[in-house]
Amino acid sequence: MSLTLEGVTRVVANETHLDEVSMILEPGSFNVLLGRTLAGKTSLMRVMAGLDQVTSGRVLMNGEDVTGLGVRQRNVAMVYQQFINYPHQTVYDNIASPLKLAKVPRKEIDVRVREVASLLHIDHLLSRKPLELSGGQQQRTAMARALVKDASLVLFDEPLVNLDYKLREEFREELGALFAARDCIVVYATTEPSEALALGGHTAVLHEGRLMQYGPTADVFRRPNTLTSAEMFSEPPMNVIGGHIHANEVTFGDDMHFALDQGLRGLGEGHFRFGVRPAHLSLSPQANDDLALDVVVDLAEISGSETFLHVHHSRGTMVAHLPGVHTFDVNQKVRLYFPIHRLYAFADDGSTLYIPGAPQRTDDVDGEVH
């Protein structure tokens, strides 16, 4: 099945929740909706599910207009942040419930429930009640219930938010494999760029109800079509610094200069916003022409295996994403190295002008989504 959205707009009490969203989800695709809280992820999923109606625009399934159809006519399944199960039924009955409602023969129910339960590693828990299980197991039960009915559209609304990070790691790895053999469309909402990357597939970046960019996940990450898209798909957010290109030189503020390299030369003269990924800043020079930048530490956030070094300097704040564990005192002075060959360039209106690493091809960058 394919799912097509055409100019989907939803307005509630004069507030625009979705603004002209158009996208085509291929059969069997895994799609991540990435965006901050209130970016429109849940609104979009509810429209896809038929739980909410659009204000204007069309929703097509397999080319057939289903815009006005309610959720019961659409064969969709949904998994929520909260672990939603029937508390008084066993795990087995919970998973079987959608099949019972669909009047599937008992023998077939049994086969399918056990199959899905073993896929999700809860086959040993079938006779337990949900509240006796851990959070991860409860969410597995909810997922099993969504999977068992063979829905053509499966929606996940931030399903891992309430689990601790080790469980999230496990789930992310399993999810891809779980749907590899199925031809349903999966839509998965998350606020975390790292989760989108780990899940792979396609990613749609949403911001303030608008679809900023949609494409294969790694592509969207590497080739953001706007500054907003780059900022949304980066955690910690991409560092942005304003600068001028004049003659053959780039100037940040009044004390940082460097010669234009091959890639940036095509931009011409004027004011630009340059973006550098936190992971591309380092404590030691990675190339001969790296720029040194003296900064003051705000806080070193340590994830256990990585360090996010938040700093400020005369032109604002920056984050460096360093591998390994490094400790710094608040207000400590540090020198960071800044790779001039890995700068993104954006116009003042936010559109992408230059992407480092790849040969410049304007047609790629201009492929904006409306």
Partner: protein, 295 residues
């Protein structure tokens, strides 16, 4: 941005509107209608303006009943609210004891008003009533039909017995909703038992208490069946409250116009008192923002 305006949802409000019209507005309007007319017989009536209202407000009997009514309502609130909070604080929080106490506390609430009156009527009798008999044995000449003090005390006691449970239950549910962390924090801050009550429990009870006080006020202001059964409003008219005066006027004397005016005044008083009380409480909770930074 093209906005689609869809007003069809308004139709859904219609049934609700119809219901309110029939249950509240129409009867009220009938009363308003009567209150400005003198009805001599079903076919003869005159428009009298606000005459009945003036009469009612100047009627010394009714003024006295109103005063009694306020005295009664305020007295029972002054007793039932602290007592209810106290009972709630003493109730066990969990286990079978909690269930048992909960049932015992709920019992008085399950007894109908007029039955309560009858029970107490028997209870207070000097010959066979446990309380009446005991008090007399102790040497107190207890008699609710001759002593207005006895009658008053008994009615108040009866109301406290009947309704303290309501406040206690409301407070109990309010107390149960306070997270354990608050008590732990208070212990760590070395708060005294009184401070825990004053700064944790009482603030968390404010909302249920507002509901409790409003309910008890409205209820007690309209009290009818219990004193009617117990004392019949006597001795004299010492326990004749507003609703009983109204009933006498409307049914025994069939003064439709004055009783309608009386009803409206009665209604407005209750409304006014509730509004004043509610506004006062809500104002207490407001923040005094925008003041200087220093304490």
């Amino acid at each position: 941005m093209n906005k689609v305006r869809n007003n069809s949802a308004w139709w859904l409000v219609l049934p609700m509107l119809a219901l309110v019209t029939f249950s509240a507005i129409v009867p009220l309007m009938t009363v308003v209608n009567y209150s400005v007319q003198d009805v001599l017989d079903p076919h003869t009536r005159y428009f009298v303006g606000v005459e009945w209202f003036v009469d009612t407000l100047n009627n010394p009997g009714l003024q006295a009943a109103l005063a009694r009514q306020f005295a009664f309502s305020l007295t029972i609130l002054a007793i039932e609210v602290p007592l209810g909070i106290g009972v709630a604080l003493l109730m066990p929080k969990r286990g079978w004891q909690a269930s048992l106490v909960l049932i015992l506390v709920t019992l008085p609430l399950l007894i109908p008003w007029n039955v309560v009156g009858s029970i107490w009527q028997i209870f207070t009798r000097g010959d066979i009533g446990l309380m009446g008999w005991s008090l007399r044995q102790l040497g107190y000449p207890y008699n609710i039909t001759s002593s207005s003090i006895d009658a008053w005390a008994t009615i108040i006691l009866m109301d406290v017995w009947h309704w303290t449970s309501l406040i206690a239950l409301l407070c109990y549910s309010g107390l149960q909703a306070i997270p354990e962390a608050y008590y732990q924090a208070a212990r760590i801050d070395r708060a005294s038992r009184w401070a825990v009550f004053r700064y944790i429990q009482l603030p968390k009870l404010t909302n249920v208490l507002v509901i409790g006080v409003l309910l008890r006020f409205m209820h007690s202001f309209m009290i009818y069946a219990e004193p009617f059964v117990l004392t019949g409003g006597g001795p004299g008219s010492s326990t004749t409250f507003l609703s009983q005066s109204l009933a006498i006027m409307a049914t025994a004397q069939f003064d439709v116009g004055p009783s309608a005016a009386f009803s409206l005044i009665y209604f407005l008083i209750i409304l006014l008192v509730c509004w004043v009380f509610y506004t006062a409480i809500m104002n207490l909770q407001k923040d005094r923002r925008g003041e200087g930074p220093d304490a």
